[in-house]
Amino acid sequence: MTTTTANTTPLDVAAVRADFPILSRTVRDGKPLVYLDSGATSQRPLPVLDAERRFLETSNAAVHRGAHQLAEEATDAYEGARAKIADFVGATPGELVFTKNATEAINLVAYAMSNAATAGDDAKRFVVGPGDEIVVTEMEHHANLVPWQQLCQRTGAVLRWFPVTAEGRLDLSGIDELITERTKVVAFAHQSNVLGTVNPVGTLVRKAREVGALVLLDACQSVPHFAVNFRELDVDFAVFSGHKMLAPSGIGVLYGRRELLEAMPPFLTGGSMIELVRMEGSTFAPPPQKFEAGVPMTSQAVGLGAAVDYLNAIGMDRVAAHEHRLAERALNGLKEIPGVRIIGPPDTVDRGATVAFVVDGVHPHDAGQVLDSLGIAVRVGHHCAWPLHRSCGIPATVRATFYLYNELSEVDELVNGVREAQRFFGVA
């Protein structure tokens, strides 16, 4: 994660905001919208909206299926987007599978592994069963936890996990007991969607390599926010979602090392992913097609390609530097309020612009409601990371997440809003 600001001119946030029509709307009786929920889903800039619309008004057709001009143009647009997105994360197009969201991408790997049991010799290396273990962490989003619980339920493998320290870091002290010869997969978030913690990918990858386990990186909260290169990180699989990085909903990405995607059995089956189909049985296309059954999310891929162009034009280092400033200001501002407790690392070292907190005496729902009445959109609840909240001994938090279009002044509004909530509930 690059957080040095030395060589980058600061982001012109006002110019960026002009690209996002929704940011100029008002909510709750005329309050300007302060959107601090990009960790759940981001907003879309005009170039992304326009790219998708242009595609639909000029070149829309089923891809990889037709021989007419529209089908050619659509296929080019779809595959062109794939190449661009692959490049954005240090992958080749053949290593990039489109899914509907990151959740599907993780399920794809988990199901391919249970399918491996009946998929012949090539798939053997993916088989898991009794005696095998899958390792996750206690800070995972449900999307990177429940599919592995279910894989274990289907196969008899056992799920194990890294605990989290009081400061919101992974507790790696038991790494040698957790990641062992029995470990088949190590799956973890690059950046926590609650704590903001950026996890030590290198350490976990090295250990996994030692024991021959596969590594799956949940990059949902990293790829949108700083420059990420899967090849350099040396992970086997990685996933992220378009809607969290200025792109349409309905599209996610699975990255897989080529040789793994080649050997791995398919997941969803149907049209476009086959080689030969007979009533008696079928064979399958090479990756990535093997994992893309049915008519795909064509215009959404085009939109994600446009989002990548947009982010590249700004520069991910600049995005990261801006978010660094936002996170710093939020942490400092909130820490000054008596009765507010940050859930996650207290400083910005290896930490993104996701700030979760609790307010003594004010339930997160109530705090969120007061903020909402001021036009400030945050998320309250467990943010699909219920076990993490349990391990912190709290049912829920308030979470503010920032992105390239947020102003420093919006951080101040958040801080003032929290004070207002305290006043309202008589705890300050």
Binding site: D366, H382, P395
Partner: protein, 143 residues
Amino acid sequence: MYQEIILDHYKNPHGRGLREPYDAESFQVNPTCGDEVTLRLKVTDGKVADVSYEGQGCSISQASTSVLTDLVTGHTVGEALSTMDAFVELMQGRGTVEPDEDVLEDGVAFAGVAKYPARVKCALLGWMAFKDALARTSNEVEA
């Protein structure tokens, strides 16, 4: 939406705490925020003899469960059910339902909550536990 009545019930909840004896217990959770309530119900001679509960949650869920105990305790199961129906109708009405103060008493204070769909689940959490507990006892009650 935060009427004084709601804040009063939140700060000074009525009937809180789990008590014996009871006929049925229900545990309900709001999966989006993790709020939870455990509610016990004692029915005697077709009447709600006691409702006791524990839970963690926001002002809305805590206050509405407090109001619930006031509204149903001492009433027949039939009356309690129709009060519940009225409260559910109010909450799901998106602010279009005119609450009947004779039926809902302090419950009318939640009319404003109905305009915030995400909070409706909070307001109904305790009531869902009550409904569930009632269903668990209903065989005995009807018998």
